[in-house]
Amino acid sequence: MSAPDLSRLTRHTEGGRVLVDDLGKRYGGAGGVDAVAGVSLDIAPGEFVAVVGASGCGKSTLLRILAGFEAPTRGRVEVGGRPVTGPGPDRGVVFQDYGLFPWLTVAENVRFGLRQRGTPRRRAGQIADAFIEVVGLTRFADRFPGELSGGMQQRVAIARVLANDPAVLLMDEPFGALDALTRTQMQHELRRLYREAGTTVVFVTHSIEEAVYLADRVVVMTGGAAKGVPGHISDVVPVLLGEDRDVNAADFNALERQISERVHAG
C-alpha cells in the first residue's frame, strides 16, 4: 500500500495539548454517583496516551468529557488552549461501534465532515479519496457500511476522522469488537497513521498489551462508582520501548506485567 503524503492534505499537522485539571463527573444530580473525581492530566501535543483500568472506573466518562458529549460537574478541560464546551471537529472520536452513517457510502462517510465544514466538493472528494487509500479501502469506496466487515468499518471510521484533520484523536476501545487477528493488524496500521498524521491521541482500551504497544504513556485508572470510590488516575507509566516494539520481548512483557499489577491493585 503506497501511502499518500498526509501532511499535504491536512492543514495543521501538529496535535493539540490536552489539559485536564481536577475533573469530576457526577451522573444523576445531587444524589447521584461520582463516576470520576480529581482527575488531572497534561498531554503534550502529538503525544499518544493510552487509558487502561477495570470496567466502570470512568475511562469512557473521561473520554466523553474530552469529546464534549458530557459536561463535567467540576474541574477544567482544555484542548489546544481552548476550554471544551461541546463536541467539535478539533477532536475526532472513534467509537467502538464505529458510528458510521449506514445510508452513505464509504466515500460519502469519509467526506461528510469536510463537506459539513464547507470544504468544496472537489477538494473534499480528493482528501477523502486519499484517506480511503491510506486505510486500504479504495476498492470499497462506493460500498455501504452494512456491506463491510467490522475491521473495514473501523478503518472507514478512522479515515473519516483523520480526513477531518483533528488536533486530537479520541478512541474508546476502537478495536474491542474485532477478532484478534484483525485487531493486531489495526494496531499496526494505527501506529503508522499516528506517526504520519501527528495528532495527539487518547486511546481507551481494556488490553494492556495494546496500550503498551501503542502508547507513549499509559494512564492507569482505578476505583469507580461500584467500588464506592470515584474513578481516578492511580498511575501514569511512561513507555520507553522505542519505536519498533515487539510484544514478545522481555522488556515489553515486564512492563505489561507491571501495569497489570497496578490495574488490579486498585
Binding site: G68, F69, G88, F95, G99, W103, V161, N164
Partner: protein, 276 residues
C-alpha cells in the same frame, strides 16, 4: 437481508404458494354460491354473484363491450377521480405530519406542546367526523380529501416521532464531532436515519387513505369508486358492489407497491426502506 431460503426458484415457489391460496379462495367462493352455503355471522353465500359473473362485469366496467349500459367502461374515470383525492389527501397529510413528527421526536418542547392535542384528536375515528364535516364543509370532494388527510395524518406522525426517537444517539454524536451544525444534524442525520420508519408510516397512511375514500365519497359525489359502490348498494347490485371492492383493493395494493418501489428507485442501493 434475504430469508433463509433465498434465490430465484425459492421466490417463485413462494409466489406460487400465494397464488394457490388465492385460487383456493375463489374456488370456495364459487362452490359457496352454487351450494347456497350459510356461514358464521349468517353470511348467505347464495346472495353473492359467482366469481365468473364478477369477472365479466369487471371486464365490462373496465373495457365495455359486454353489457353496454351506463356502467360499462367507466372504471378509469372513477379510478382517476378517486386517485386524485387519495393523492391530495395523502400528500397533504405527509407534508404536515413528517416535519411535525421530526420536530416532535427531536425536541422535548415541541413534543410537550403538541402531544396532548395529538392524543385527544387521534382516537376520534373518521366515521365520527363525517356528520360534522358534512355540516361545516358540505358534500363533495373537499370533504373527502379532508377526511383522508385527517386519517392518514396520525399514522404518519406517530411513525415519524417513533423513528426519530429511535435514531441511535451515536449517529448524532458522530455528526457533532465532525463539526455538523444543529440544523444539519436534523437534516443530514436525523431525517435519513428515521427514513425507514417514516416510510412505514407513509405506507399505513396511504392504505388508510383508500379505506377512508369510500366513506368520503359516499355522499354527493358523481365520479369516484366510493360513489360507484354507494350507488350500486342503493340499486341492490351486489355484483357491482363486489366489483367496486375488488378495484379499490387492487388500487390500494398497487399504490403501496408504487410507493415502495418508487422510493427504492430514488434511494437506489441506500438502505433507507425496510425490505418487505
Amino acid at each position: 437481508m434475504t430469508s433463509p431460503t433465498s434465490g430465484r426458484s425459492a421466490a417463485a415457489g413462494r409466489a406460487a404458494l400465494g397464488f394457490g391460496v388465492l385460487v383456493g379462495i375463489v374456488g370456495l367462493w364459487h362452490l359457496g354460491v352454487r351450494g347456497q352455503w350459510v356461514l358464521v355471522f349468517d353470511i348467505k353465500m347464495g346472495f353473492l354473484p359467482e366469481p365468473v359473473e364478477v369477472a365479466r362485469l369487471l371486464w365490462d366496467f373496465a373495457f365495455g363491450g359486454v353489457f353496454d349500459d351506463a356502467f360499462s367502461g367507466t372504471l378509469w374515470q372513477h379510478l382517476w377521480a378517486s386517485t386524485g383525492r387519495v393523492l391530495a389527501g395523502f400528500g397533504l397529510a405527509a407534508a404536515l405530519a413528517i416535519p411535525l413528527g421530526v420536530l416532535m421526536g427531536r425536541y422535548r418542547l415541541v413534543h410537550a406542546a403538541f402531544d396532548p392535542a395529538v392524543n385527544l384528536f387521534r382516537p376520534i375515528p373518521a366515521t365520527a367526523w363525517v356528520p360534522l364535516v358534512l355540516l361545516i364543509i358540505g358534500f363533495g370532494s373537499q370533504a373527502t380529501i379532508f377526511l383522508i388527510t385527517l386519517s392518514a395524518f396520525f399514522p404518519i406522525l406517530l411513525n415519524t416521532v417513533g423513528a426519530v426517537r429511535e435514531v441511535p444517539p451515536r449517529l448524532v454524536e458522530a455528526a457533532q464531532m465532525l463539526g455538523t451544525s444543529r440544523a444539519n444534524v436534523l437534516l443530514k442525520v436525523i431525517v435519513p436515519a428515521s427514513t425507514p420508519g417514516i416510510v412505514s408510516g407513509l405506507r399505513i397512511g396511504l392504505g388508510l387513505a383508500w379505506v377512508i375514500l369510500v366513506l368520503g365519497e359516499s355522499n354527493g359525489i358523481e365520479w369516484g369508486l366510493g360513489s360507484m359502490i354507494t350507488l350500486a348498494r342503493e340499486q341492490v347490485r351486489t355484483d357491482r358492489v363486489v366489483v367496486g371492492m375488488i378495484v379499490i383493493g387492487l388500487a390500494g395494493f398497487l399504490s403501496d407497491r408504487i410507493l415502495v418501489h418508487g422510493l427504492k428507485g430514488i434511494f437506489r442501493r441506500r438502505p433507507l426502506v425496510r425490505s418487505t
